[in-house]
Assembly symmetry: C2
Homo-oligomer: 177 residues x 2
């Protein structure tokens, strides 16, 4: 199999602070070390470059996810690996994107709310729980977890290294690396 | 030179109806025949997938151009050829995108307004000239032509086949095909 030319999309979904970015950065780095073409589409980069002006209503969030999906589609079908770290809270929008992309690996990065609230690196959970952030996913806005993700990570119960290893194993099992 | 892996962006700018789409489709097809990885980003596709909700003010048009540019950047640096057909009326926004992308070939597809108005395939020039379309480029909205395009096509004076040939020659001269 001509592994070097097969693009795909690796999509990490989960709450803010759950560890999506950290894991996706490390996986992307490992893919680059394996001499693969990789683009990392992290939430912030995407908001800056594709989705300025969009807010956090359901409609806007879905538009954001669809737009990331469009870019992933272009990259994947041209042999590039698109690694996405995006809250992407609504199941239907994720499914819609999945259906458009040839090979789509969905990773659910789960972390219980109380752990997130205790870490609270950006101080956002505290604000959200005090009712100051109206559209904060997991607190004041819904999050619909994947029903059958390709991989389910409980980031409060395993090390980042272990999670990265598990992602890698999935990719290996599917002949993607 | 490892031609097969070198991505770049070929950007066609010009008024509506000038022939950008036709030329870009034919060039993209020829690139595919040469077994290159190509994505064609045509105005309509982009409006649907990246820029729903954007209007036709200067700000919105520039945002649209920047967004297309971002996607071109991702594709180009991963060995894919991005072919763009977009009115992209403002010089500064085009220059901004050009500066971000490694290899950027700008093609200006020019056609005089009276010829466009006579062809008027979509009937839009008639409406615009009657004052019914407030933001119609070239009539009720500005178009800033490139000062030094890599190629200048006068689509009313040469055949489509000849234009495609000239684009191809430019790409050949730059060792891009």
């Amino acid at each position: 199999m001509d592994v070097d030319n097969s693009g795909f999309t690796l999509w990490l979904t989960g709450l803010s602070g759950s560890g999506k970015s950290t894991i996706s950065h490390l996986v992307a780095e490992r893919l680059r070390c394996a001499r693969r073409r990789v683009e990392l589409l992290d939430g912030d980069v995407v908001r800056t470059n594709l989705s300025q002006g969009l807010g956090f209503t359901k409609e806007d969030r879905d538009t954001n996810v669809r737009r990331i999906g469009f870019v992933c589609e272009l990259l994947s079908r041209n042999g590039v690996i698109a690694v996405v770290a995006a809250i992407s809270p609504y199941r239907a929008a994720r499914e819609e994107v999945k259906a458009r992309i040839g090979t789509f690996i969905e990773v659910y990065v789960e972390c219980p709310l109380d752990v997130l609230a205790e870490r609270d690196v950006k101080g956002l959970y505290k604000q959200a729980m005090a009712g100051l952030l109206p559209h904060f996913t997991g607190v004041s806005d819904p999050y619909e977890p994947p029903e059958k993700p390709d991989l389910w990570i409980r980031s409060d119960q395993e090390s980042v290294e272990h999670s990265v290893e598990r992602v890698w194993t999935i990719l290996k099992d599917r002949d993607l690396v």
